[in-house]
Symmetry: C2
Subunit: 191 residues, 2 copies
């Protein structure tokens, strides 16, 4: 494997992350990332496959941060299955709101390279946190429960924040009340 000089490649990714955090979805630009990393505007081409390649690398890092956020929320929650799963979802929604630029690149960017192994690995880890949080409710892997929670929280994030609830006539109910209809909120803590 041909290992890149870590500094420049990582500097570009870090620059892109900060641009997205500061400037939202539109903040990221190849040339801006290059400038912020202190290299010429054509340097990124030697580390990534154009802008889509840089976006893919940034999304990969962003998924890792995303996973961290969900885990941090989960581990701060009370040790009941419902509280833990709700905390994971709250982390999900928090990230979507606080890191809208990253969230956009991760999920709404039209030309990510979804065949990228690192991206697949990091996004699978993120999904794994949610999947694990669902386990107690089905007594084992259950694609319907997982898919339902995953879809719901993702859809809720998009509809809630990006359009601040205007689709629904009134303010949307808290996600807690949605989740309480998906899984048993009174499940005991002994797994």
């Amino acid at each position: 494997m041909t290992r890149d000089t870590p500094s420049t490649r990582d500097a570009l990714i870090e620059a892109g992350l900060s641009l997205l955090i500061e400037g939202g979805p539109e903040g990221l630009t190849l040339r801006r990332a290059a400038a912020r990393a202190g290299v010429s505007h054509a340097a990124p081409a030697h580390h990534f496959n154009g802008l889509p390649g840089l976006q893919t690398a940034i999304a990969t890092r962003a998924f890792a941060l995303f996973t961290e956020t969900m885990i941090r929320h989960r581990d701060a929650a009370e040790p009941t299955p419902f509280a833990r799963l709700l905390a994971i979802c709250d982390g999900y929604l928090d990230f979507a709101a606080q890191r809208a630029g990253l969230f956009h690149v991760m999920f709404n960017c039209p030309d990510l390279d979804h065949t990228d192994a690192a991206l697949q690995s990091e996004s699978a880890k993120a999904y794994g946190v949610l999947r694990e949080g669902c386990l107690p409710f089905s007594g084992g892997p259950d694609l319907v429960t997982e898919g339902l929670v995953w879809s719901s929280v993702h859809g809720y994030a998009m509809l809630d924040f990006k359009q601040d609830g205007r689709q629904m006539g009134e303010v949307p109910p808290p996600f807690r009340s949605l989740l309480a209809r998906l899984v048993d909120p009174t499940l005991s803590a002994d797994r």
Copy 2:
């Protein structure tokens, strides 16, 4: 009210729609839409507030097509509450898959003008179809049921198609099985 000459304004919107349908999310460009409408590249500025304004107008039309699709599916379904709601959701998912470019502008475009009255009206109509489909299950308006179905189908659309199921280890379950856990599939047809 100052009514624009219908032809040019509508031609620009129609051109934008076709560009999005043919070229996906990236297909739309102010200059391309202008060229396809047979006007100069600066003409759109006299009808819309820049590119965001054109995108907003296009999204408004797209929401109308979206509503039509859901209604068409619903009206072709058997007259049970579950079959009708499932058909609405299938229309939703169909549109997301077949009209990915439009769907992207409607939901993932970072700079739509969400204060636009026409856009709000059309998107509210679309939501109304789903909301109405939910009514039989709660015996009246219920934000939790609506929010759950809306979030689920929207999240399912994003996760299913744009990333063709790679987040979930295996192929995702059909939406029907998800919906069957949200509402009562055996509800009788007499409202």
